[in-house]
């Protein structure tokens, strides 16, 4: 399945989703000591869209995701998620509210199997307390099996049935990335943050991952924020693009508009050489 085929799926306008804003970043600034990671960045993400965040290395893209996640707390600015202004939020609160993510350097739990890793993603949705779990038979077991069914659907979707019981440390890089995506999906998130999901993959793997991302967006309606360096992927997958450079936003718009933007070309894209 080529990139062109992927891009010729439902037209961009229909994929853009509703006009509801899921996440609104306003004038966010983040600094570590003297290092300014983000300076006065503002943009929004609409429900159901795929938003790409691009820029050269060190531009602050991962820091931006970390801020959305609650892992870093900006010194200035406000973040509004699902209409509610957020104060200093801790990462697990962000998770409870429906924000899931994958990581640039894979952050899987190496002591567990694929199945268990994805099951950890269900943790926020499981309710039975420690005493029921100690007993196991009865409500805890039923809950476990119900969530196992949900996880198996994700495993099916990502085509990783054959590595279900394998400890993740033994998996090749590409499969680990898929398992990480599965774990994030298990949380049934409203907003999915993907940090360079295609890094280190060959063309075939990139096509698979692109297909998964599109399917997640279309089948489950999940809003996605995506950091990516491969411009082909960005152009084909995303509805709108934000460009960061040295912690500042230098462009914001549709992929075509951004590609033609002079500032972006100067900072990041460059021009093709003969």
């Amino acid at each position: 399945m080529s990139m062109a085929a992927v891009a010729s799926a439902p037209a961009p306008a229909a994929r853009q989703g509703s006009a509801d804003v899921v996440l609104n970043i306003e004038h966010v600034s983040l600094a570590f000591g003297g290092v300014k990671a983000l300076t006065d960045v503002s943009f929004d993400i609409r429900a159901g869209e795929i938003r790409a965040i691009i820029g050269p290395n060190g531009a602050g893209k991962t820091s931006m995701l970390n801020v959305i996640n609650g892992f870093y707390h900006p010194q200035e600015g406000t973040i509004t998620f699902k209409g509610q202004k957020r104060a200093q939020m801790k990462p697990h609160d962000a998770a409870m509210q429906g924000i899931a993510r994958t990581f640039q350097n894979i952050a899987l739990f190496h002591g567990m199997s694929t199945l268990d890793n994805i099951m950890t993603g269900r943790g926020t949705l499981m309710k039975r307390n420690i005493f029921w779990q100690a007993l196991w038979s009865g409500p805890a077991e039923r809950e476990e099996i119900a969530h196992r069914e949900a996880v198996e659907k994700i495993i099916d979707f990502l085509e990783i049935e054959h590595i279900r019981k394998v400890p993740v440390g033994r998996l090749p890089y590409g499969l680990q990335k898929r398992v990480e995506l599965g774990r994030a999906l298990a949380m049934e998130p409203s907003l999915l943050l993907l940090d360079e999901p295609m890094a280190g993959m060959n063309l075939e793997e990139k096509e698979d991952m692109s297909r998964f991302i599109l399917d997640v967006n279309q089948q489950f309606g999940t809003t996605i924020a995506l950091i990516e360096h491969d411009m082909g992927v960005v152009m084909d997958l995303s509805d709108r693009v934000v460009v960061l450079d040295y912690g500042k936003k230098i462009a914001d718009g549709t992929p075509d508009a951004v590609r033609a933007n002079q500032a972006v070309i100067d900072a990041y894209l460059g021009v093709p050489h003969d």
């Binding site: 991962t62 970390n66 892992f71 990581f103 640039q104 952050a107």
Partner: protein, 333 residues
Amino acid sequence: MSPAFLYFLETVLNGLMAGIMYSLVALGFVLIFKASGIFNFAQGVMALFAALTLVGLQTGQVPFSHLINAVFGTQIHHWGSGLHAIVAIGGTMAIMVAMAFVIERYVLKYLVNQEPIILFMATIGLAYFLEGLGDLMWGSDVKALDVGVPTGGSFWWEDVTREWAVEGSDYFGMYIDKLDVTATIVALALVIALSVFSQYTKMGRALRAVADDHQAALSVGISLRTIWIIVWSISGFVALVAGIMWGAKSGVQFSLSLIALKALPVLILGGFTSIPGAIVGGLIIGVGEKLAELYIGPLVGGAIENWFAYMLALAFLLFRPQGLFGEKIIERV
């Protein structure tokens, strides 16, 4: 000055000295941690082993005599009247270097790149092994150690401080042990030498490289083997010095190895990778313990020294997890 203030001063001074003794042990930890990222729990036992070997060589004890007698039914105990102190120290040092070789060859080599907790537990195993070995070689009875380090209270200092007391009070002067003074001088000399070594020599730089990343150090051509043997030998030397000081102070016995446990709070305060930090941490713990015993002790029945250092370290950890001199830990995702 009033007697109460003079008692306070005396406690502080003795605390500082006690702290130096802790620092001596902590130094060995810092060296090995700096160079290999391993927290060497066996450092205390190494000090005990070094002290035992020293006494054994000095008194002319036959190693493993107990075992040999049990197996062969013989009655041998000593082979002569022993060696001179300096020779014995040299001999012990040689044994410590040999031990460094053996440890590198049979333990460290296989544990390259394991997680820190595995390495730590391996050193606990090593500590137990060395303890058993030391007992087997030299026997587990308490021994007196004497290499000519001056001991006992200093009469001169007592006389001087008696003059400082207010007229008419019955103050008998401050007690400072000459051994502690010697230990302080030795420790300071060691710290200066080691700091210079670490900071300014090529070998020192290699040590710091290895501490950061084993694989990377290997890939720039640093021989891990050599570095580790050197570091563990130096630590062995530091252990020997600590063993001599502690052994002269309270005899060579099992409880010496427990000093290792006391070094932990010292390291927490001073940071695990800082040589001067080991001294400062030791001083703070030493003074803290003694003062706590003096002022808080009577309120709760005494013997606070057992746990005060750890509580102090714990409190410190809550506010400054990396210690006074350690590097700040930044977690990245």
